[in-house]
Assembly symmetry: C2
Homo-oligomer: 308 residues x 2
Amino acid sequence: MEPARRVTLKDVAAASGVSRATVSFVLNDDPNQTISSSTRERVLRASRELGYVPHGIARALREGSSRIVVLNVDWSMEGNFSRSYIRGLDAELAAHDHVLLVRHGEAAPQSTQRILDAIVPRAVLRFGEAYMDGHEPDQEDWEHGFAAHAALQIRHLAERGHTHIAMALPDHAFPLTGARLHFADETARRLGLAPVTDLVVPRPRESGAAAVRAFLAAHPAVTAIAAFDDDLALRTLTALHDLGRVVPDEVAVIGYDDTEYGALVTPALTTVHIDAEAKGRVAARTVLGLDAADLVMTPGRVIVRDSA
Amino acid sequence: MEPARRVTLKDVAAASGVSRATVSFVLNDDPNQTISSSTRERVLRASRELGYVPHGIARALREGSSRIVVLNVDWSMEGNFSRSYIRGLDAELAAHDHVLLVRHGEAAPQSTQRILDAIVPRAVLRFGEAYMDGHEPDQEDWEHGFAAHAALQIRHLAERGHTHIAMALPDHAFPLTGARLHFADETARRLGLAPVTDLVVPRPRESGAAAVRAFLAAHPAVTAIAAFDDDLALRTLTALHDLGRVVPDEVAVIGYDDTEYGALVTPALTTVHIDAEAKGRVAARTVLGLDAADLVMTPGRVIVRDSA
DNA sequence: CTGAAAGCGCTTACAG
DNA sequence: CTGAAAGCGCTTACAG
C-alpha cells in the first residue's frame, strides 16, 4: 500500500520545464515578477494536472507562521451568535487560505501557551472580545454592535409599555454581564425609563424561584425582565411559573440569542435573534489585515412570541 | 518594538556546549541514544533557562505531519456527550504534545480537503464515528458504548412498568438515529417488551403536536416515549402539553444527554447523563497508536426527575 | 523574464 | 557517547 507520494513544487517545475522559483511566482501571483503568459500557462496546467497542493507546513516554516487563526472560546454562549460568528469567521478565513482552529476554553492556560508556541498561528482571537469593544460605544456599535443588541430588548419592552425593567443575570459575573447591564441601562435612560435593576437568577430551580420572589418583593414596580440570554430567560420563566406568576400579564420576559428551545417552552419565549456571520467575516478580514468595508452587518431582530 | 527572537535548538546547543543533535536527543528522550547524565543535565538546564519551546512547524516539516488532530463535528448533538468527549480528547492529546483542531461541519468538503492538505494533520476523526462503531455491538459496547446508553432509557421505563415504548426521532434521519432505534428495540426485546415504535416529532410546535396526536391515536398501547435527545424530549413534552396529556401519568418521557434546560421545564425532564471524557481520551490514545487499556469508562446514568 | 542558492528549525541516519 | 550533514518543501532576495 504505497501511500501516494505528495506532489511538490519540484514535480510541477519538472513537468513544466521551469525552476521551482518560477512555479512559486506563478502560483502565488507574485506582483514583483513578470512572467510570460506562455510560461504561466504551462505552469498552471502542470499544477492542475498533477493536482498540486502547496504544503502548508513548509510554507509556514518559510513564512514564519502558519496560516492558522486560533479562536479561544471560553465563555459558553452557545446560540445563534456564536454559531453564526464562527461560521462567518471560518468561511472568510478559508476564502483567504487560512484555517480556523477553535480552542474550547477548558484547557489550562499553560497548555494553551505550549500549543500556541508549537503551531505558531497567524493570530489568536478571543471570542467575545470584538463584541465587547467600545464600552463607551460609538455610533457603529449602537447600530450593529453589542449596544444595539442590548437596546433591542429594552426597546421592545418599552414599546409594550413597560417602564420598570430588570435584567436577569447569571450568578457568575463576567465582563459581558457588566457591559450588557450598562448598555441596557443606557438605553432605558435614553428612552426615559427607570434605571434597569439587576436580578441574579441562580440555576438550581428552587434558588432561582427564591431569588425572583425576593427581587419582586423588593422591586414591586418592575413589570418586565430582560434576560442575559435564553438560558436565563428560561430560569426566570420557570421561577415565575413556580411562583404562580402569570407571564406576560404580571411579568414579561424577553430572552436573548434565540436558542432552539425558546419556541418550545410555555409561554413561548420572545427573544432577540442575532446573526453574527458578517461580524465573523469582519474579524477574519481584520486579523488578516484586509479591508472589510464592503461587508454589511445583519441587524439583530426581536422574535416576538408569547412571553413579552 | 523588536519582537523577541525565538529561542531555537541552536541557542540551546550553544548555551550548553553541545551540538543541535545532542540537544534534540536529550529533549526527545531518544531511546536509541545514551547521553551522559552530566550532558543531559546541562542541556535540560539551558533549555529551561532559555525558555526553549520546540518549533512545531519545523518539527512537522521534518516529521512529515503536524501534531494536529482534526475532529470533524457535523451533527450538532451539543450536550454533555460531545462536550465531555471533546474535553477528554483535547486533554489527552495535549498530554501527548498534540493539538485538537475542531472543525465545525459547515464548511464545504472541498474547502475542508484543501485545508487538510495544507496543514497535514496527524489524523482526522469524525465525531460520532467511534461512538457508532459496532452496529452489532460486542460485550464492551453493551457495557459502556452506544448500545448501553440506549439501553439505559428503555430499562428505566421498563422498571416503571412500561411495556409499550416509542422512540421520538428528529425529522432528518442520520446514521445515529437508526442505530439508536435498533439498540433500543434490541433492549426491549431482551426485556420481553413490545417492539419499540418510532415517532418522528418535527420541530415546529404545531407540527410536533399533530405528529404526537396522530401517533398516540394509532398506537394506543404506548405509555412511554424515549427521546433521541433532550431536544426531542422537549418537543415531545411540549406536544403533550399542547394536547392536554398529563406527563408522566398518561405518557412518560425520558430524554437523553442531560442538557441544562431539562431541569427547568415542567414537568422536569428525566434524562440520561453520559460522561464521555474517558471515551475522548481513548480516542486520543488510539489515534496516536498508544495503549489505552488503563482508561476506565464512566458508565452512563439516569437522572431521575419528574417526566418518567 | 528566469534560475541557482540560501535558509526557515527541526530530526535522524551516519560516521567517528 | 557526540557531532557534521542532509533534507523535509517552500519563498525570496540576488544574480544574470
